[in-house]
Amino acid sequence: MSDTPRAMRQPMGLKIGTAAFLAFWCLLAAFPIVWITLMSFKSPVDAFAANPFDVILGPVTRDRGNGLSALDLALGLTVLFFTIRQAFTWLPRKVSAWSPAGQVWAGWIIGVMAYAVGFIFVFFLVLPAILGVLNPILGPLGTPLIGLTTEHYQTIWVERGFYNNFINSLIVTGGTVTISLTVGTLAGYGLARSGSNIAFWLLIMALVFRALPHSVLLAGYLPVFVNSAEILRPWLGENAPTLYGQPLAVIAVLVSINQPFTIWMLRSFFQNIPNELDEAARVDGCTHFQAFRWVIMPVMWPGVITTGLFSFLLAYNDYLITALLLDGSNQTMVPAIAGFFNRETTTTDQVVAVAAAVSIIAPLFVLVMVFQRQIVSGLTAGAVKG
């Protein structure tokens, strides 16, 4: 900071004010999420306790025999800390060393999976076993301090079959992101490299489509989707599917709804890549498509990742479309949780619903942790110049 000119330096009062504001904002931003996470690990009496310290410490949960001792906390946090650190230092090195050239992405998928399985094995199987032996020996260090129970997570994931909703969410989200990016990069490239009036009007049309409330479209889909078997019968014969309730149909809908945003964003990324690059490739004898595939795409990954993150958020977080177009048997997580919450009345059920809500946030949390730099720099490159 010493190289900042004196006139640019902030007076003390402003510095303190800024720091206080930022601290307040961080508290505001994190508090609801942290709090429901805490609630989800406590038994209902603690989760809805009047005294905030009871929610944090969970005395009732502890008295029921579910608690963490000082040793548990220390060891658990150490393992967590090293897991995260190694994930950013050791894992990338190993992945790039072991994966065959040109297939680093496959290496990453396998590497991350293996790492996650290893973590689950150590954290949920090895660690409890070791602590189970150590805690009784150590006396005061081994007595439970903080009440903590994972029973609500077991209830929701194992007994209530929440993993079905999770799988459905994975299918819908994965499908949406993949198709959205494939179709979107093609269109974004075409629009960025064409100066014609048609391209301009297509973009304006996309902007208007972006503004449409989704319910407007749903009013159009539902009758067609519900009656699709009859409508399609002349062409497809007796096997004509009913689109209502099909994850594939929902994917198509989400991809389309997402297209306006995707092509606007990808177009501005492509515009940042100099035209000379594909011209050089064309001089070397590539067709437009080959230039796109072999020359432009390799330098487009930051843009694709940022846009993919936004597609992911849209598909993963959607309530309106999945709630109306999927029936109960293959619902995704968000409508399922809203359903849990509307049905259940006892406090235990409420905490179970909270646990479900926290489980749905966890992947998003990891996503931001990994891609934070991409989100910020991606938006800088894309939206700012768009």
């Binding site: 800024t18 904002w25 064409s194 391209a199 503004a211 319910s215 991809v255 109306l324 700012v384």
Partner: protein, 342 residues
């Protein structure tokens, strides 16, 4: 690029948008003028109760839907009804009576007008708040120490990426009946508080939630823009004796103007479709939005029927609203586009 190549690139995306956006839009437009309902017939039904010696029999006329003998489906007819569905959604006679009598409560009894009031209020109140809060955070983070920026950005992004329904639920849980914050306020003010018993507190929470949710997005965009502020201009402004506030007003804000317009545009579109908050806060008994109104029409009622024509009418009206709201911003984009190309 040749037109043919262009079409090969843009074709798939265009196809999807036409099939899943433009076509439904056209069908909704047509659907809003038509009503499909089952054909009914009246038949005489004789019901006899079991009785000793003599049965008591009654004959009555029942209205039942006509069933196609071949397929077993209910026969339906589709009628062209003109503006009937719009009439049912808008209830102009009742609304006009309420307006002429200056009876605000009576007007708010009609679902559409009360949804319109909330949607507009929600959109227009959150817009300046999101821009203001986003800008404030961006300026504060930009002047914070470099080592702190990463963690602060991480925490700030959390409200933005969190699933909207879950995010509003997480705030709902803090305030519901025996939620921790309600108890805190109760202990502080020494009175009973029920945040979800009346409309205005729910509206306040929804406004808070939306600003909490979108301000991080505005922040990231503004923060990115602040990195590109021309340092030379800033320095010359200092030499000319501009105060901190003057620099903000005459250098930074004009530099960020395109981004402010961008955020305003995106936020206007998104806030106008307010929906997830109503599900999250379970507000439907007190407050609804235009999009929720359509959702409600589309949900099957007790008999399993969906009010498609009324849903179509209300969604066309919803769309009309967003077009009106967007006109000033679109005109500006258009002027900028023309200005930049000449």
């Amino acid at each position: 690029m040749k037109f043919k190549t262009f079409i090969w690139f843009v074709g798939p995306s265009l196809f999807l948008m036409v099939l899943f956006i433009a076509a439904p839009l056209a069908s909704v437009f047509l659907g809003s003028f038509r009503i499909t309902q089952p054909v009914v017939q009246q038949i005489e039904v004789e019901t006899c109760s079991a009785g000793f010696l003599a049965q008591t029999c009654t004959t009555e006329l029942q209205t039942v839907p006509l069933i196609d003998e071949e397929t077993g489906d209910i026969v339906t007819t589709t009628e062209w009804v003109g503006f009937l569905s719009y009439d049912r959604v808008l209830e102009p006679a009742r609304a006009w009576a309420a307006i002429t009598a200056l009876d605000y409560n009576a007007l708010m009894q009609i679902d559409f007008w009360s949804a319109l009031r909330f949607t507009l209020m929600f959109t227009l109140v959150t817009l300046p708040l999101v821009i203001g809060v986003g800008l404030a955070i961006a300026l504060a983070v930009n002047s914070a120490a470099r080592s702190l920026r990463g963690p602060i950005i991480f925490i700030s992004l959390l409200p933005f990426i969190i699933t909207p329904v879950i995010g509003s639920l997480s705030i709902y849980w803090l305030f519901v009946g025996d939620g921790i914050l309600t108890r805190g306020i109760e202990a502080w003010l020494d009175r009973d508080i029920a945040m979800f018993a009346q409309g205005w507190t729910i509206e306040l929470l929804m406004l808070f939630y939306r600003v909490w949710h979108v301000a991080p997005f505005a922040f990231v965009i503004f923060y990115a823009g602040l990195q590109t502020v021309n340092q030379d201009t800033l320095e010359s402004a200092i030499i000319d004796g501009a105060s901190r506030f003057d620099r903000l007003r005459y250098v930074v804000i004009p530099h960020l103007m395109p981004l402010i317009i961008f955020i305003a545009l995106i936020h206007l579109m998104d806030a106008y479709r307010v929906f997830d908050e109503i599900v999250g806060f379970r507000a439907e008994a007190h407050v609804t939005s235009l999009q929720y109104l359509t959702f409600d029409f589309l949900r099957p009622d007790d008999a399993g029927n969906r009010a498609f024509s009324r849903a179509s009418a209300s969604s066309m009206l919803t769309m009309l609203g967003i077009v009106v709201l967007l006109i000033p911003l679109l005109r500006r984009t258009w002027r900028d586009h023309k200005g930049s190309s000449h």
